[in-house]
Amino acid sequence: MSATDIQAGANSLRSGPDGRGRFGIFGGRFVAETLMPLLLELDGAYKAAQADPEFRRELDYYLKDYVGRPSPLWFARRMTEQLGGAKIYMKREELNHTGSHKLNNVMGQILLARRMGRTRIVAETGAGQHGVATATVCALFGMKCAIYMGATDVERQKPNVFRMRLLGAEVVPVTAGAGTLKDAMNEAMRDWVTNVHDTYFLVGTVAGPHPYPQMVRDFQSIIGVETKKQIMAAEGRLPDVIVAAIGGGSNAMGIFHPFLDDPEVRLIGVEAAGCGLDSGRTAASIERGRPGVLHGNRTYLLQDADGQITEAHSISAGLDYPGVGPEHSWLSDIGRAEYVGATDQEALDAFQLCTRTEGIIPALESAHAIAYAAKIAPGMDRDKIIVINISGRGDKDIFTVAEHLGVKL
């Protein structure tokens, strides 16, 4: 969708996926036959929308006047001084309407759903950011909305649950499994297969069957496209490092993608290491998983030897997922992007660092990216540049953080 994609040639790392929806061995369309014709229809509708200047014009209008784009690229002066190394910039996705990068994708898909004549939206959510964004556009366009959310997440993200209900969405708690994002995804797929005639499945991350990983990436690429322009204006050159948190990986894919063909820019995805990468309680699918098939795509998954999916763990509900978008799996295998972990504790520390030095309360998801940036910045020269994607704001997380700090609200 972005101008960079159109320019991407055959040797570009931005030309994927292939016709089967594959990034190398990853991706694909592993769904029941009932859904297959719908995915083919969606693929066709998306291609037609991409080719239609009116679709782009409409999307740009809503992104500017409703979402509030472009989002600023902020030079984090005090954090830079405190860490004493590379210059730190923050891409301020938390300033979007609804408080996260999620609305970029949701706005694109809801316009597509309308073009396809769908009247009902179903979505999965973890932290509730995607659910809130989805409920918001359903209110905006007067569409019916059902949000599936793990029962555990309903409990730890109460403010977002209330927000979704205020917006008119039906929030369905899912008790299967551990009651987190994976189980919500299963249940959303069951709803979709049952209500195919009028329902559009609005996937919130760069995972799921083709064309979702591609489509969500395209809609989120606006983050990287803007970052490129903004850093050129501020510094006259590209950054040395871009750091973003990875759950399914949509904010990371959005900021990485426009830089894939700039090999001088290191791309670092920070997975949730939970209690530690080797603790067995982690959500680090790339670092501790194996390739497998779940939720419509082949990708790195946390699983046992028999191919049963294991539960993920993270303090951040938005990262608490045993898989990852297939394009990240591919970027890891070919070595174009690096994938590392930040623990629950490191994220909590970074949450406070960002809040105290910049006056920005980041989402716990984004705090994982800040944690890793804070780890590497002091060892870098002062003329080096790091961009951190601040994917969301942390108001929703203050209860969780208070609990971990031993504060009763």
Binding site: F30, A32, T34, M36
Partner: protein, 278 residues
Amino acid sequence: MSRIARRFATLRQQGRGALIPYVEACDPDFDTSLAILRGMPGAGADLIEVGVPFSDPSADGPTIQKAALRGLKGGSTMKRVLEMVAAFRAGDNETPIILMGYTNPIEAYGPERFCVDAKAAGVDGLIVVDMPPEEADLLAGPAAAAGLDIIRLVAPTTPDDRLPVVFNGASGFVYYVSITGVTGTRTASTDELAHALPRLRRATDLPIAIGFGIRTPDLAANAVRAADAAVVASALLNTLEGTLDADGKATARTVPAVLEQLRGLADAVHAVSKAVTK
């Protein structure tokens, strides 16, 4: 000729439809599910589907989800599933066994080794719920080499111009998912089936089984009037679940209750007389 083809040929000569019951491996334990499996041919099963438990059965309704979780708790792994089929095969060399499951446990086992081991255990066909024709190359070669049938799913949403894609590479029989939805929920109406079946018959000569939402002898009989076979899963699993004790363990009633229900379904299916074909 494969066991599946042989069984359908025999049924056609006899002018009968087939009942295909489902049993989830290791639900709630290995021995109970093996006892049910062994009892099924005697209770009227013509072919049998053995469910391979998976942690995330996203196309299944609550009944099969619970059965899969019980199976995993009961120690199911792909290796145990194949051991169970081999134990059944030692006493029955005729009744076709079809494994039904999801891609990931097969991928984790290794598709080639899986097909070789499944064939050796006595498996005849595979239904992989989340493997549409577009992804079928993962198993097509190894399954053909091992002599396993790949049973394709076809749905009400499958348009006519896609039917050749779905049936290309299909063997054994075709499984018609008669509703849009998950297992064990809504039932297709007679009208819906009357509309669907001619559409499928025009596109394939393979026998057609109908599944999803068939829970009573009447519904099973209806299905074989329209098609060649009826698949019953959730109804039998509900019965099984109802016999478990408070800890989810099997009781003395578990195996007989499931087989008794199966007998009622089979009697209704076998009472339907169909045109005799060669």
